[in-house]
């Protein structure tokens, strides 16, 4: 193994953190004396993890880390792990044999083989752990331990000390039936492959002359012995599919396959019994094998797409502390009903969707919104399951059962996305029965045409049945969509329904929301300009006192500014809080009316604008600063100057779109000058500023009336109507659930670049679908007439048909290479 930093090297590596290798910020100082030499770290987490590793005598880990691999800083350890010791919680994912227990942990933070070594050594040195086995590919740990000697929570604790976050999970529930059916398919495939290879050898012998020798009977019976189990076992899915199709009075793709297989097999059996003619057992197995391969690949791509959901499932809380008459009791979330009171301790996950009834706290909703900024929650506020409670304890009245929580909805959304069908696919679905019918009729006609010669007629009809198998047609779209949505999910692009994959490639105009979409959406107060005779801190304190009741990004910035200056704004009495969307907020603070908002709104509320405060405003606004005006007791007293930074990837996205000749509009509720400044920074685009939320939707409508196909990119609740109105709505993962629900595409990570990737993906998918459908039409229109004319033997049909299917599958699979360059 190559060493990353050998222990002989006494000078600490100046390049980066000793543990994770990331660069160390100049202003941080985390260091520790280890084995007689000073080591520097990028953060406290790295330092403590490294110290723990040395304490355990596992420093060999650093020698085993491959050179050049940058480890990430250790993930945040899981909270509330004591609950995993409860038997009722464990029953979901632990198999018990008395005190000897067994479970799987999903481990975050595994990067390389050295981690496998570290975890296994670390675990084996823990008393009570019987065996620990890390699966590097699946990032899982299989654990057996003696519950009387060590608790599961202790094990997870040790794991987090050496830098890994482990969460128990149930592999059955996570991958479940999907994996089982996929595996059953794999076994059928194995058997078909085995039978096919052996039969091909026999077939070669027969074709090269053995069919005239003394062994012909033997070869026929051997072929029969191989083909019969292959047909019954490996071909079972086709018969089942055809039969269930027939019972539901619909013609499925399985039907011609099943008929073709049966006819070929029966004829070959007849030949074997009578001893005259040729057998086609090899055709039966070849066909079975190749069609099974197609099905298996399709199942595999679906499976990969589903894997993306597992991480989300993992966020679902498992237990809740229910308060009944002041008594706390820990129960499984499934047992908690609507209306129950649930206690949420600081630092733990909120188990259910509900309303805060007691207490206040800040909640990390990044799981739902992607915003790292904590959201303040007070009595009456809504909290969502899976989000992380901050510093205060909350009593929450449960509003929705666990299965109806926002998180469950998101998970369902993902699942829906994977099974949804594009119109083009619905088209091919409705074609399939007709296709099958035509195939059956054509086969009958062929049989009739050749009826003088029974063997020829049978062979030609079978060729038609096999060769026109609409597999390629039926697989063309689902394969492409499955591959594309799987690839999307892997890159954080959730396609809610297949339709938009089609529409997105036709979009001619993009509309962007400004705040939170093109910009970070994290405002901060840069400057407070006060009128003469006013105190800056006092103004800010008054502003914060009002704004803490608002959820607007400006409000958060003002409150954050007050917090950072440690102003005591919380003890000011605030009454009659009222917010006017897109204008401002007002309240009575200590008996004085305080207004905070745009200058126009202040004017409308009979406030005289102070000219001295307005002097530098134009200049500030042309620098893309937002100015919020503060009026106290009817007097214009101060201007808060707020700044927002452009997202790092905004420029690249705009440039790409412009290069593709796509029109763009910036839509903002903000002042015109500010919005224009942003547009200018991005190289100029149409700006529609000072729109109220309800007007955003109208702007989209106007664009559509001009004949544009519009895609809207937004994040907030106020964008929701526009997201629905637009031909394609793209919500940034910052999704307030309204916007996520209204959008067609959800970008899980807040990266604008994903918009570009989604466009690329949709173009590629549509192109692939068209190619595939074209491919199978060309194939059918050439091969069917040939088969009817009797120029195609079943053998040739059995080779060409799968080849066409494989072409389609291969072509769809090529989508996966899209983001690799």
């Amino acid at each position: 193994m190559v060493t990353l930093s050998s222990s002989e090297n006494d000078t600490p590596q100046p390049a980066g953190c000793f543990h994770c290798g990331l660069p160390i910020d100049v202003d941080v100082d985390y260091h520790q004396l280890l084995d007689g030499s000073q080591r520097n770290f990028c953060c406290f987490a790295c330092q403590s993890v490294c110290a723990a590793i040395y304490d355990a005598g596992l420093q060999g880990y650093y020698q085993r880390t491959p050179q050049g691999v940058l480890l990430a800083p250790p993930p945040t350890p899981p909270k509330d792990i004591e609950m995993y010791d409860l038997d009722e919680v464990q029953q979901d994912f632990v198999s018990c044999q008395g005190e000897l227990r067994e479970t799987h942990l999903l481990v975050e933070g595994i990067h390389c083989a050295a981690c496998v070594w570290l975890i296994e050594r670390g675990m084996m040195r823990t008393k009570g752990v019987e065996s620990a086995n890390v699966n590097l590919a699946g990032k899982r740990l299989h654990l057996r331990w003696d519950n009387s000697r060590v608790k599961l929570s202790n094990i997870i604790n040790i794991l987090s000390k050496i830098g890994y976050a482990g969460v128990p999970y149930d592999p059955e529930a996570a991958e479940g039936s999907m994996k089982r059916t996929n595996r059953a398919m794999l076994f059928r495939l194995f058997f078909a492959a085995f039978a096919m290879m052996n039969l091909n050898l026999i077939a070669i012998a027969l074709y090269s002359g053995a069919d005239r020798g003394q062994f012909v009977g033997f070869f026929h019976w051997m072929a029969f012995a191989l083909a019969t189990p292959a047909l019954l076992y490996s071909g079972y899915p086709f018969f089942k599919g055809a039969w269930s199709g027939l019972r539901n009075a619909s013609l499925t793709m399985d039907l011609p396959i099943a008929i073709g297989l049966t006819v070929t097999y029966s004829y070959s059996l007849y030949v074997t019994l009578t001893g005259s003619g040729q057998v086609y057992f090899d055709t039966v197995t070849n066909l079975t094998f190749v069609i099974l391969i197609g099905r298996y690949l399709e199942g595999m791509f679906r499976h990969q797409a589903v894997a993306a959901t597992n991480r989300l499932m993992d966020l679902q809380p498992r237990v809740a502390t229910v308060l009944t008459d002041g008594v706390e009791k820990m129960t499984s979330v499934r047992a908690v009903g609507v209306g129950d009171m649930v206690l949420v301790k600081p630092g733990s996950n909120i188990p259910m969707d509900g309303l805060v009834r007691e207490g206040s706290s800040s909640v990390d909703e990044s799981m739902l919104s992607g915003e790292s900024m904590h959201v303040k929650k007070h009595i009456g506020d809504r909290v969502a399951a899976g989000t992380l409670n901050g510093s205060g304890a909350l009593v929450v009245e449960v509003q929705a059962a666990s299965a109806d929580s926002t998180l469950s909805k998101i998970i369902r959304l993902v699942e829906e996305a994977q099974s949804s069908k594009a119109p083009i696919q619905r088209l091919s679905d409705s074609i399939v029965p007709w296709f099958v019918l035509v195939t059956l009729i054509l086969a009958s006609i062929t049989f009739y045409l050749w009826s003088d010669n029974f063997e020829m007629a049978l062979m030609a009809a079978t060729s038609v049945l096999i060769i026109t198998c609409p597999c390629a047609l039926g697989m063309a779209t689902p394969m492409s969509i499955a591959v594309a949505s799987g690839l999307g999910a892997k890159h954080g692009i959730l396609v809610k329904n297949g339709v938009v994959l089609e529409t997105l490639s036709k979009v001619t105009h993009f509309v962007f929301d400004k705040t939170g979409t093109l910009t970070e959406g994290k405002m901060r107060v840069d400057q407070v300009i006060v009128a003469s005779g006013c105190d800056e801190t006092h103004s800010l304190a008054l502003a914060a006192a009002v704004e803490r009741y608002s959820e607007h990004s400006v409000a958060r910035a003002v409150v954050a500014a007050a917090e950072s200056r440690q102003l005591s704004y919380r003890n000011l009495s605030v009454l009659d809080f009222h917010a006017t969307a897109g204008a401002g907020v007002e309240a009575m603070v200590e008996g004085m009316p305080v207004l905070l908002g745009t200058a126009e709104w202040l004017l409308r509320n009979a406030v005289t604008i102070e000219p001295a405060l307005m002097l530098s405003l134009d200049e500030l606004e042309s620098q893309a600063k937002t100015c919020v005006h503060l009026a106290i007791d009817g007097q214009h007293r101060a201007v808060l100057v707020l700044g927002d930074t452009l997202r790092a990837d905004a420029q690249a996205l705009i440039n790409t779109l412009r290069a593709n000749g796509i029109g763009m509009t910036l839509l903002s509720g903000d002042r015109r000058l500010v919005a224009e400044a942003i547009a200018r920074q991005l190289g100029g685009m149409e700006v529609i500023a000072e729109v109220l939320p309800q007007d955003k939707d109208r702007v989209i409508q106007q664009l559509q009336q001009r004949g544009e196909c519009v895609a809207m990119v937004g994040d907030g609740v106020n964008d929701a109507p526009a997201l629905i109105r637009a031909d394609v709505g793209i919500a940034l993962g910052s999704g307030t659930d309204v916007s996520v629900e209204s959008a067609d595409i959800v970008l899980m990570r807040n990266e604008l670049d994903k918009v570009r990737l989604a466009t690329l993906l949709s173009r590629r998918t549509l192109r692939t679908i068209k190619q595939n459908i074209g491919l199978s039409f060309v194939y059918n229109s050439i091969m069917v007439p040939l088969a009817i004319m009797g120029h195609v033997t079943p053998l040739v049909a059995a080779i060409t048909m799968p080849v066409s299917s494989l072409l389609v599958i291969g072509n769809a699979a090529r989508i996966r290479n899209l983001f690799k360059e």
Partner: protein
Amino acid sequence: MEVIYSLIPGMTFFGLVFVGILIWAVKRGQYEDMEGNASRILLDDDEDALLHNDVKDKVAK
């Protein structure tokens, strides 16, 4: 040429045995983690020999 009467069924039988082994291996999870086990064999446990005695004692316990 009569030998093929025993050779072909014999080979087919061996083929079946291999299919059986393959299915058994998949069921046992032999293909679950190709990377991990490949590197695990390289990360041998020679480290303990280099450790101080007190650490070794701790490990031994």
